[in-house]
Amino acid sequence: MQLQTQNRPKVLSVLVMEDRIDAATAIQFKERMRDLTQTGDQRVVLDLSRVMFLDSSGLGAIVAVKKLLGPDRVLELSGLTATVQKVFRLTRMDTIFTIHPTHSDALSHDPAS
């Protein structure tokens, strides 16, 4: 599970370098994300622009990451492809996450505003 990170003072960006987060890799994804976010307190932007396929296991892993971050640390998503967006919409998980069209939208968004 390849993840590329950019550590900024206010934002930790994580770009998923895989084209699928599915039953085969959901657990590794969750564990990698836990390792990456163990320290730090910035908001996390998870960019899914390379993820062409997300099943219910992948969705569950993203929810698990949000829970791991706890109530004081925001997890936002960016770059959802059409089908991935549909998975979030059908499950109403699009109401649980702030979803930005692109990674740069996410970076310029200030959750305090």
Binding site: F53, S56, G60, V63, T83, T95
Partner: protein
Amino acid sequence: MIPPAEPDATRMTFHCKVGTNTFAVRDALLGMISAPPLADLPPDRRDLVELVLAEVLNNVAEHGYDGGPGDITVTLGRCCAGLSCLIIDQGRTMPHGRLPPGERPGTAGVPLADLPEGGFGWHLIRSLTTDLHYARDQNQNRLSFLI
């Protein structure tokens, strides 16, 4: 003259062997989407069919075969402006002998620590398919739907 309705003109059967290979379902899906009839679909539609098949196959692997070895066959055909799908396995019977209701796990007003991490699969399957049927035939589970 109206031509007679054609039964599934082109049906393809795919085999998936689950068990020790964690990527068995993923490999089977990649094989299915690159062959007819799925390869002929517009990409957005094909993606949704792939999602439903993933949910069904993962359920069979995890619950039908309990993560152990087993065979699953998937037969896909063009049917009535859509696709017909038939998935057969020899795993455990569906609990209570019928399909789960597939209610969407609740999210409204749920505290962070209680947000659902699973239980989405059957809701996704039911949301995206029609004519969903399950039957137990001797030692086989037979799941069919249109999409």
